[in-house]
């Protein structure tokens, strides 16, 4: 009795294994196709994970990462107790929050306006022109903005015509954030509307019909039908932008940054670049990068479970 049980047990254990081996063999072509991708990710995204240990070591270039001695949390203590850290954090978060506050509603409003347009040629021209800046790099778009606000630019010419003193916005501390946020909105509001327009075109016209029968006016139709129709996209994008709160946009900021606006403009990423790559202070820069990476990960996981709990379509 016992014997037979043992025997069948072993056989049933072996059978799935053999089945599994057969499936693996059958899929060998698929694995072969995955090899290049696998190698790429192992080398260029997983191997750098080992480099994170630099944040916990006294990194000596000639010894290499492995041989360098451990120092525990020393670099984090130095970082968090420095006067620079709260300043960087505040700059980064402030710029991000301004971006969300003004930049998030802009494409939604634009999509709502565009949705009212019936003349196809007009709609298409507006879209073609407002989408275009999205495809330009920040170097080029920054150049266009600087031309606009420069000493001989349109902005100051208009100010002078109005009898006001010209302002040098590129070096103005008090206007730095406004300049960053408004130029970013100008570059992306058109493009950002696409996803909302797609959501709008997916709304069932019968919902509007029902709202009308219930006596809803135009604004109530927008409030009760149009906006709920965009809600899942709005939730997703809002949550994503919250998750990226420590990402204030290196490329743009770097273009607009100069010694005069270092006060409000120095963010985590510009600091990491400056002290890490230019200053070769690898440990502190790695620690700062790790702090940003961990906070970003925690935020995005929290955000995802939040929208899932709200009953909206989540990221995973």
């Amino acid at each position: 009795m016992n014997k037979t049980i043992g025997h069948s047990d072993r056989a049933s254990r072996r059978r799935p294994l053999r089945k599994w081996a057969a499936e693996v063999k059958k899929a060998r072509f698929i694995y072969l196709l995955f090899v290049p991708t696998c190698l790429y990710f192992l080398i260029f995204t997983y191997a750098p994970f080992y480099g994170i240990t630099i944040a916990f070591k006294d990194y000596q270039v000639f010894k290499g990462i492995f041989e360098s001695p451990w120092v525990g949390l020393e670099h984090f203590r130095t970082l968090f107790s420095s006067a620079k850290f709260p300043e960087l954090l505040q700059n980064t978060v402030t710029i991000s929050l301004y971006r969300i506050l003004f930049g998030f509603p802009a494409p939604i409003l634009f999509a709502l306006l565009l949705n009212e347009v019936r003349a196809v040629w007009f709609k298409r021209s507006v879209q073609t022109i407002t989408y275009f800046p999205h495809f330009l790099s920040w170097v080029v778009f920054g150049g266009i903005v600087f031309n606009f606000i420069g000493p001989n630019g349109i902005f100051n010419t208009v100010l002078e015509a109005l009898g006001r003193d010209p302002v040098n916005l590129t070096t103005s501390v008090e206007h730095f954030r406004t300049l960053i946020v408004s130029s970013a909105i100008m570059k992306e509001f058109g493009w950002g509307a696409i996803i909302y327009l797609a959501a709008l075109s997916g709304i069932d016209p019968q919902l509007y019909e029902a709202a009308k029968i219930d006596g809803a006016g135009k604004l109530r139709q927008i409030w009760h039908v149009t906006l709920p129709g965009m809600r899942s996209v709005m939730a997703l994008l809002f949550v994503l932008s919250l998750a990226g709160i420590l990402d204030a946009g290196f490329e743009q900021i770097y273009i607009f940054l100069n010694p005069a606006v270092m006060g409000p403009g120095d963010i985590i990423d510009t600091y990491v670049y400056r002290i890490g790559i230019l200053g070769a202070n690898y440990e502190i820069a790695t620690a700062m990068g790790l702090f940003k990476g961990v906070v970003g990960m925690v935020f995005i996981i929290t955000a995802n479970s939040l929208i899932r709990r709200m009953g909206e379509k989540s990221l995973w």
Binding site: N147, Y254, I300
Partner: protein
């Protein structure tokens, strides 16, 4: 105007028309306001760009005389002649063209093969493979570990640093995987019954069906290579190896042409000193970088919009 509002509300025929397109029609004054706001926004986008274009073709006097122009007042190509005489800009243009063309080809090869493998959900270990590309979207090691890795691999200061670390963008791979995944299995099965090998199936069945998504992802990669600024900034110190955007930054933002292998504006004689100014040289450099984007813009608009739609169907 009162009449118009009345029509929108009461006239049954207009109500039926409005119903077919969803929302109520606006009264005429509101509609005019909407068109006005949109036209203004469009002009705000367009005006600075036209201004740069006009300045790039203008002589110094015209630029200071009428800085707000949209049509060049005096036509000259001196600024363009000057930027084309700088060796570093042309050199960086060559580098970026190579990186964009060759890099995008490699991107597509890696992304197509990987995405096809990931679209086969029945394969043992599928979950593991999927997580392998999802984790990098959630957490990255940061700039410095990457820098040290590239240093160890001796990729710093080479053209390959612009291509190899960016071979696969996880988002693009998932976009493509979702597309492959939505292709009915029956198509592959019937090709297999007809005796087609695995490679043949991909080449003759999957790829022809996937041209829209391949074009979309290819353009995503291409534009990213063209506009790539920080890879060059972070990982290439030698300015003769800089890609276009990094050189553009030193022209447009710093106006630093000293090491550019060109004769400085002052040295080219009195005539051109009246013509050449930082303003029109910067403007010409901007236009130089915008023109290639403009040339492919019709495709960009079409396929990028398609990509956004594909991405929003399945996250």
């Amino acid at each position: 105007m009162v009449n118009d509002i009345g029509q929108g509300r009461d006239n049954p025929s207009s109500q039926r028309m409005a119903a077919s397109s969803g929302l109520d029609r606006n009264p005429a004054w509101a509609q005019a306001l909407i068109y006005g706001v949109l036209a203004t926004l469009t002009l705000i986008c367009l005006y600075p760009m036209l201004n740069v274009l006009a300045i790039s073709f203008s002589e110094a006097q015209a630029i200071y005389g009428n800085p707000m122009m949209v049509v060049p007042e005096s036509f000259t190509l001196e600024a363009y002649k000057y930027i084309f005489s700088t060796r570093v800009l042309l050199n960086s243009f060559g580098i970026t063209v190579f990186v964009t063309v060759f890099g995008t080809l490699l991107n597509l090869m890696f992304t197509i093969t990987g995405a096809y493998a990931l679209s086969k959900t029945q394969v043992p270990g599928h979950k593991l493979m999927l997580w392998m590309i999802v984790i990098p979207m959630l957490f990255g090691a940061g700039l410095i570990p990457m820098y040290i890795l590239l240093k160890e691999l001796h990729l710093l200061n080479t053209i390959w640093v612009l291509i190899l670390p960016k071979l696969v963008a996880p988002f693009n791979m998932i976009l493509m995987r979702n597309f492959f995944w939505s292709i009915p299995d029956g198509l592959e099965e019937s090709a297999r019954i007809d005796g087609a090998g695995e490679l043949r199936i991909i080449w003759n069945v999957i790829l022809p069906l996937s041209m829209p998504v391949i074009a979309t992802v290819g353009l995503f990669y291409g534009v990213n290579h063209w506009n790539d600024f920080f890879t060059g900034l972070f990982f290439i110190k030698d300015n003769t190896k800089w890609p276009l955007q990094v050189v553009l930054r030193s022209i447009i933002i710093d106006f630093n042409m000293l090491n550019m292998g060109a004769t400085t504006p002052q040295a080219t004689g009195d005539m051109s000193r009246l013509v050449l100014q930082p303003e029109n040289i910067k403007a010409a450099a901007i236009i130089f970088a915008v023109v290639p984007i403009l040339c492919v813009y019709p495709f960009l608009q079409k396929y990028f919009v398609k990509g956004i739609m594909l991405g929003s169907v399945k996250g």
